[in-house]
């Protein structure tokens, strides 16, 4: 690779990072949540919180999305759909788990139709705790993820202790 090609590819890389950080599109998936988290995610779109300030837009199709925002524990019936949605997203893709349920299974731990939390099914990049987290917390979590992207790093993966089943 000669110098000018190298320069071009670096420049292109900078431009894509810039674009990605400034206009990440997200898709929202409910894999068994109580809707509490979902209405708070929706609230981030509305005038009071206005997540579009950060260029974030909620999209309907996984094929347009960079970020998968997941809520709730993963039920047996939703697991395969969650995986399918994730697979349909173009690379690079990021997963944000919103709410205690998504982080640990929350109050639903041990229920017969629950596979587990989201990290057991997908690699999660950001966890936003709360039941439900406030819209500010959700925005904060996503912005933190974006800051990482801007620095060219990916958040460290988190190792969980295996979940106890009741």
């Amino acid at each position: 690779m000669n110098v000018s090609q190298n320069y071009v590819s670096q420049l292109m890389g900078r431009i894509t990072t810039w674009a990605r950080v400034n206009s990440p599109w997200a898709i929202h998936f409910n894999s068994g949540s109580c809707n509490g988290c979902d209405i708070e995610i929706l609230a981030t779109l509305t005038p009071r919180y206005d997540i579009e300030r950060f260029g974030i837009k909620l999209r309907g199709s996984p094929r347009h999305a960079d970020v998968l925002i997941c809520t709730g524990p993963v039920t047996r019936q939703a697991r395969e759909r969650l995986l399918r949605t994730y697979e349909q997203m173009p690379d690079p893709k990021f997963v944000v788990a919103v709410g205690s349920c998504g982080i640990s299974g929350g109050v639903f731990q041990g229920c017969y139709n629950i596979v587990g939390h989201i990290n057991e099914v997908l690699p999660v990049d950001a966890f936003i705790p709360g039941c439900p987290p406030r819209p500010e917390a959700i925005i904060d979590g996503i912005v933190k993820l974006l800051t990482h992207l801007q620095n060219g790093t990916r958040p460290e993966p988190i190792q969980f202790a295996p979940q106890e089943t009741a």
Binding site: G32, P47, Q77, F108, I114
Partner: protein, 559 residues
Amino acid sequence: MTTETLLQRATEILAPFSKGNNNPETNRLDVEIEASDLPSATAALMDNQWGYLSAITPTDLGKEVNKLELLYHFCEGAAITSLRIYLPREDQPDVPTISDQIPVASFFERELGEMLGVHVVGTPDSSRLFLPDDWPDGVYPLREEFSMEQAAPVEPRETLPEMGRVGNKFTVPIGPQHPALKEPGHFEFAVDGEIITGARMRLGYVHRGIEKATEKRNWIQNLYLLERICGICSHTHTSAYAMGAEKLAQVEVPPRALAIREIVAGLERIHSHLLWLGVAAHEAGFDTLFMYSWRDRETVMDLLETLTGNRVNYSITVLGGVKYDFTAEHSRAIHKAMNYLEERIRYYLHIVTTDASFLQRTRGIGTMTLEEAKYFGALGPTARASGLERDVRIDSPYGAYHRFPVSLITDERGDLEARFEVRMKELLVSCFTIRTIVDNLPPGELAVRFPRKVPAGETVSRVEAPRGEAFYYIKSGGGESPVRLKIRTPSLCNWTSALNKAVGHQLADVPMLIAGMDPCFSCNDRMITVRRKNDSHTLTWSQMREYGIKKYASIREPK
């Protein structure tokens, strides 16, 4: 008619079938009948216009008794008649269907089959409703001997067999990534050209197994588990559960606590209806209204937060009372907020009844007559928009609703427009009631002690959620956790009417029809696969929604 006369009449109607009557509570009648008499007993109640089927509670009484128990609860006003049937416990006992008389029963019967292994003879659809596709056959989570080991995943089966395709009809599956309250669902619409000719659904994507889980948690833990059935009507679930548990434990809740519960219920109704207004407007392509109504909804969220410390899942109810008191500061804030909201709600009411392009999507669409609403067992605002006077707060006042009653809002037209109007007017009523309570808040204690163990017994508690009647059946065995808890949420009943009303409408109306019954949408996106004869492609819900909007736009502007 008073509750006593209603129960008296039910006793007379059911006398030919009865094997024994008793009154577990003053407003309840329990009639034990033979399983084979079920259709005729139901017919007798229906012919005499006695009530509507509210829920079916299946219980496994365990190995010792060696019986399964089915309770068919019919409600009329405050009176509840339960038909009690005992079945042998061996695999797949038979019970005849009643869904030919009461369409909504078909959902309950699907549940009976998969949860308890009861074989419902003659039910039109015995496919799975809640359990996952990879759930093994012959394993029933509500049976006593159920354990997680039995439920190891098996080869998934197709739970919704293909609907028959005739001529140039094709099937449009919608979902499951769909944001209903308790359950995202998967729908399939059979379409002939543009017109829907058949519809059905499959739930269970959000089914977590809460009813079973309550048996493992104690009375207090359950309060927080049940609150999380639904983040939108969390207070409804805690109030229904707390009311039932308090009745069983014979705990008298202080009037101040009841009044505070009613205030929170009112605020919850406002937040829920405004949320719905936004989502429904979004489905119609009216995003400005979506943003407006959600902006104003924040006023209520702020109030809930100052009052309870949380925006969603407020946890203000505890067994025996409430957690937080109400101060003069709160009441000032509430008055201010109510004044503002009232003005805004009047404005929205004006918009949904006058905006021409919006009316095009709502006026005369999905019209449900009074008879149909009764027949399909519709509940809540969906029913009231068809002129059906059904509201638990009025029929069977609970909590503080004796002291601070609400007025009933109905409409005769039964179309989508009427449902918008009814909901907006209900908000005005809520604002008014909240103000009245705040000004006349009874003094006294906030909570009384609740025992760790609850005496044996069973009770029914019904609460009017923003979407209609929520039904709880609670049975205690005298221990630290309930023996059986049955929950029936209003959306399950309203689906029957929504699906049946979709038939004959255009595919473009589907988003509005579904949004119109308020299935607790949180406006998330769904996948839609359109399967034509030879090719199949996937649409998202937003593409579907845009399809509806474009279609109506093209009607509006003649080319």
